[in-house]
Symmetry: C2
Subunit: 332 residues, 2 copies
């Protein structure tokens, strides 16, 4: 099992990335890591050289680079080399905390789509409140800006495979994000998608779900178009961040009383933060490609890298991608 790591992607690269890899090595001593980036900088954080190969390159893609251009022009960028390694069969998966658009482009143009999957989707496992280990898989979170109803059916199949194989949920409940729970609700896109999802035998379609009920665990897999998915994800993140900030400033405004109260509630507040933090499920998968292509937040720290390596390990071990390839080979 070989993972190609873009060691230079992310706000705290390469330190956070390599420190995370070192943690993951303890969990999974069998994984071989190919680290792409500046050798001398990477070496500073490599505390154990077994199963580590560093492939030196000076070039990298920046967070403000225009994605498609960057992939085409920076042919020796760490991310591009890592994607090439997957394409050439030298690695089984790629991991990056760098430029999201560029990784999507690298995934599509270098790693390539699974045959008969028209539009790979970006998928994350988001938290279910009140279930510390619970979560739901949502896609598309923004790989595409416009989707057709047929794409949403593909997302449903992809998400179902992931929930079942990787997250070990038998017969995952698949729902369509919509603006009402009734069957007749929706836009032109969701009305048609509802029809197609109802006819799709390979999934357990449970109908519409509203955005209000997502975090309550209304479904195991939620499908939507990439524009809406992106807006919903960012709304959830923005609200959670703003509320944590508001809680903090409200406590500070109370002075000594607030300090005492916060001290007494330390565990409760930490528990709350932990429960909203979905990095324990790993990163976002660009799903529908010939190999796992995984992205984490640019601000990611070593622990989140570790969780993401665990996620990739599970994806590889369960062979979810080869199973999808077989499934789609029979579809025309």
């Amino acid at each position: 099992m070989k993972i190609a790591v873009d060691a230079m992607g992310g706000d705290h690269a390469p330190q956070a990335i390599i420190e995370g890899v070192m943690l993951a090595k303890q969990d999974f001593p069998e994984i071989e890591f190919l680290l792409y980036g500046k050798e001398d900088e990477i070496k500073k954080y490599v505390t154990d050289e077994t199963n580590i190969t560093i492939i030196h390159t000076d070039e990298k893609i920046n967070s403000d680079d225009e994605p498609v251009k960057a992939i085409r022009r920076k042919k020796t960028a760490s991310m591009v080399l890592a994607a090439q390694a997957v394409k050439n069969g030298e690695a089984d998966a790629i991991f990056s905390a760098g430029n999201t658009g560029a990784l999507l482009a690298a995934g599509l143009f270098i790693v390539g789509r699974i045959k008969n999957v028209e539009r790979p989707g970006l998928m994350s496992t988001l938290p279910v409140i009140g279930q510390p280990d619970g979560g739901f898989d949502m896609l598309d979170l923004g790989a595409n800006a416009d989707n057709k109803p047929e794409h949403l059916v593909q997302y449903a199949v992809l998400g179902s495979f992931y929930a079942e194989k990787v997250r070990n949920i038998a017969t995952p409940r698949v729902a369509l994000l919509n603006n009402g729970s009734e069957e007749t609700k929706g836009s032109e896109l969701t009305k048609k998608a509802f029809e197609l999802l109802s006819e799709e035998d390979s999934i357990n379609f449970i109908g519409n779900v509203e955005a209000r009920d997502l975090l309550s665990g209304a479904a195991d897999v939620v499908v939507t178009d990439g524009f809406t998915g992106n807006a919903v994800l960012k709304s959830i993140e923005g609200t959670a961040l703003n509320m944590m900030g508001l809680l903090k400033s409200s406590i500070l405004a109370e002075g000594f009383k607030g300090k005492m109260g916060a001290l007494l509630l330390k565990n409760a507040l930490r528990g709350m933060k932990d429960e909203m933090d979905y990095s324990k499920h790993g990163g976002a998968v660009l799903f529908g490609l010939k190999a796992p292509v995984i992205k984490t937040h640019g601000s990611t720290g070593p622990e989140a890298v570790r969780y993401t390596i665990r996620q990739i390990q599970t994806m590889l071990k369960t062979e979810v991608v080869p199973q999808l390839v077989s499934y789609y080979e029979t579809k025309e």
Copy 2:
């Protein structure tokens, strides 16, 4: 100034509605209220009869009625009679906490659109965290499931008028909700809308805003299609509700220590809840109609009704709707 009130709409009707009207009467003794619904039930809560007229009807629209059918068939329902009163010039605005879809239908088919406004949008003033009196106006929150780029320009004009006249913001900053801040980002719809918004001289268009930055006050007016707006609003509400619930259960799980901590943080926690509660800005306006048509949550209590009456009073006093009518009369 006369307001037609659907006294029978909402989970706690007519009690919460009439109690709210009684509170609002103290703030605005000049307003005349026309209360539509069951006279004997309404009378129980009328503590002051000045400027109150009850129009008795036994019929009402239920929350699970099919909206358009209900409006057409229940011709003497409290909501329908209230809308008719506005149409006939017997009242200046209509207020309901009932079936949202039915109120939208009553607004469109009975009250009617402003000439040259193609698609009225549902608009609320949502909270800006850290600014207890701050807020931003967002539309469409779900009156329409599919929108054209031109509709988003109309929403921008409508929202600007509201922010300026009713909320007293000089030169409101108008933003387009999009999946990235760069000009080139977006779906087919938002790319085209960006172009049209940039060309619209009557507004102060500041570009794209991402859903993540909404609650931080990135703009005064945010325009989006009704499907996305609905999903974003419900995501914000769902996340806020889930986090408040999570906070509560985390505190309870801490037992005595949690109880003590919560007691010390009572003011802080209440302040936090208050700041997320945007009912102080009033209800949702179906904007673009010939008169104010205002909806509040079905679960609304007397205080929220009071705030909504204040909002309607401001809309009528500032003549925002007649000004819109004049503005759109010159457009062909």
